[in-house]
Symmetry: C2
Subunit: 419 residues, 2 copies
């Protein structure tokens, strides 16, 4: 069996650990030169494949590739670009196969969330239909933790650790000042439809009265009256009230509470601003002094406080993707299987892509406290292991050292393609 | 000379390292039992002194006090409560002396910013005028870095490290996605009148094109046209534009660009929201997709990414405060004196409080780049040492372990006082 090249691309919102998966793909591929030639990375994700804009990762040193393990963001660029269905846009799939053929790509590694799993599956189907030999493997990544069949999604554990740490720290700050200053603190976190990140904030509290006191999850429609009552109760009882709110919080009519009015390339609404909205409401109705924070990209880029478990899982799914390809698997995703909670033990299994694509995993109802403002012990048991361990990046001059790759592209051989 | 008790209080906005100063005061005092009896801490700052609400720190274990060094927030509570001038409010100063007398307090350690320096000076004067023997020492603390006579203010270096780290990380995130997604990222940071924190964001960039590309400093009036031109230029040249904006950015007419319309106990306007405002402007005028973050309390509570230099300085000024008191000094503040930039060398000197109180140190003009959107090499030389070194707190179960003190108060002996 001769060596064929591999294609790797990052898709959708990047994370603190997606490059750890890239690192694993490239390092593992380099261990199998008899089977895998070059790993070519798409510049800016799948767009790089369509444009034949292919980064030659063999030009990067072993040290640079190793440094990907501790570098946040997407080292080759990512994109929000969803290929339409095969029927509507056969042309793009054909182009992909054409580019793969031109560069002898036998392995397609697509590192992303639910939309990318769908694309990956379609590429696998298209290759099969065209008689082009290709193994398409999806590598899970999303801070939203909303992929099915895997215990968690690489990227989520680090965001969870960041938001829980931040909530614990800000909570101490507010608690010290509450007597004469801020009484209500609101932190807005990511999570468009699933409340996993908001739920993770709850890990900050170990004892009664500690921040956060209230979670506003996207799974629970916002009830203003009950919320304000609870805020008042917390301020009375604990002196202050810390709230974690999901960007995707829904009003009672089912609309996003704070909608910026714009949509991204996937047709999703661009959210932001529910934190200040909630804080303003508290001020207006209860008169409490407030502060609010919106962590935004800070949370998903915070490699400096990444979860060691998350980094290891991101690496493990990257390595497993290559191993699955080498063992002949196609249209699968390496998924994390939990074997035990404490100690947290897990292994990697192959999940069929047709069961992953376009399935959004929401928080199970039994993870949400009866009053809707917190999480259950079961949720805590699930979440706690995911933030375990620290994996600090190297620092120089007081700041984390992140690698920038050369990102040299190979020579194009095909006519230009208009997306 | 018999031992007398000490009073310690935290004032104003707390920081990631103010407890390191508290740790130093208590540990150093404990080393001098022949001169210093108990260290009594004001619950919620100076209000604790007025209310005779005094925490007996001798009830805390050595381990708990040592853990203060790595615990953010204010361990005894802080407050925004400014004593008025002696003429307007003699009553409160008299009450303080009365409480000090009742508890044999011979040392007054007040840990805060400019307003607290002023209070500390007045307490010293009042004690002197009343013939009450007291040594009043102010311990510098403020993330705003706006105290005079000291190279830097403990608290600032850690915020500087946090914002520079966050900007570097978020910058990598945005750079990876800019082709099809967010092109402009705005991060709002603290700094009401002085742009030190915003300036520190610039440390994130080591090479041309790296985030941040634009600083919006409170020292430079906002010029919308020039700003938008620059944003466009950055997006064209680098593919994206990262902006750090001070909460205290002023419009061309000198008003705060985003004023929440409320004032705190010191009569300062409560700001917040300039980040989304600027981001919205970019969207509206240039049409770029944007994201914004408001770090708010996260930045000043982020002990997990504290600057080792800052922690050491916070500890050093606390220790020096006790040593100065023991050597007979009064109405002074331990100030940090820079001896060299690289390697950063510093020592502690005694700064007279009458030269500290009510003087706000702004960024020198020569620290601001000619175009107003960045900092100079001189500013970088000043800032760089302050974020050096890491001093990670201990972690347990994936989160930093912060101490909670028992905070038991001593028995009151005086009639109640109505503030």
């Amino acid at each position: 069996m001769r060596a064929r090249n591999a294609f790797y691309a990052q898709s959708g919102g990047v994370t603190a650990v997606i490059n750890a998966s890239a690192c694993a793909v490239i390092e593992t591929a380099r261990q199998h030169p008899e089977r895998i030639g070059k790993v070519l990375a798409g510049r800016d994700g799948i767009i790089g494949a369509l444009n034949e804009d292919l980064i030659d990762t063999s030009r990067e040193s072993a040290a640079a590739i190793a440094a990907l393990r501790h570098t946040p963001g997407g080292a080759f660029g990512s994109c929000r670009y969803k290929l339409k269905g095969l029927e509507q846009n056969r042309r793009e799939y054909e182009r992909l196969i054409e580019v793969f053929r031109a560069h002898d790509i036998g392995y397609f590694f697509y590192n992303g969330g639910g939309d990318s799993a769908d694309t990956c599956l379609k590429v696998a189907q298209m290759a099969q239909a065209s008689g082009y030999p290709l193994q398409a493997i999806h590598i899970p990544k999303t801070v939203d933790n909303d992929l099915p069949l895997t215990d968690t999604c690489p990227g989520f554990g680090s965001v969870a650790k960041y938001v829980a740490t931040s909530m614990r720290e800000a909570g101490l700050d507010v608690a010290s000042m509450a007597r004469t200053s801020t009484k209500v603190f609101v932190m807005e976190v990511m999570g468009r439809h699933a409340g996993w990140i908001t739920a993770a904030c709850a890990l900050a509290a170990e004892n009664e009265g500690e921040a956060p006191h209230i979670l506003l999850l996207p799974e629970v429609r916002f009830d203003e009256t009950r919320f304000l009552e609870r805020v008042k109760e917390c301020v009375t009882r604990y002196g202050f009230c810390a709230v974690a709110v999901s960007e995707g919080l829904l009003a009672s009519d089912g609309r996003f509470l704070a909608e910026a009015g714009t949509v991204d390339a996937f047709g999703h609404a661009q959210l932001g601003g529910v934190g200040p909205h909630i804080a303003g409401l508290v001020k207006q109705r209860l008169g409490y002094k407030f502060h609010w924070a919106v962590a935004d990209y800070l949370q998903r880029a915070a490699r400096h406080i990444a979860s060691k478990t998350d980094v290891e899982q991101a690496f493990a799914v990257g390595r497993a993707a290559v191993e699955m390809a080498l063992s002949g698997k196609n249209a699968v995703m390496p998924a994390i299987r939990r074997l035990s909670d404490a100690p947290y033990q897990w292994d990697i299994i192959a999940a069929p892509l047709d069961q992953v694509a376009n399935v959004e995993r929401k928080m199970p109802q039994e993870f949400i406290a009866a009053d809707g403002f917190g999480i259950t012990a079961e949720a805590r048991r699930y979440l706690a292991p995911l933030i375990q361990g620290e994996d600090f990046p190297p620092f120089r001059d007081g700041l984390p050292v992140y690698v920038r790759l050369r990102n040299e592209t190979i020579k194009k051989g095909l006519p230009q393609f208009v997306i």
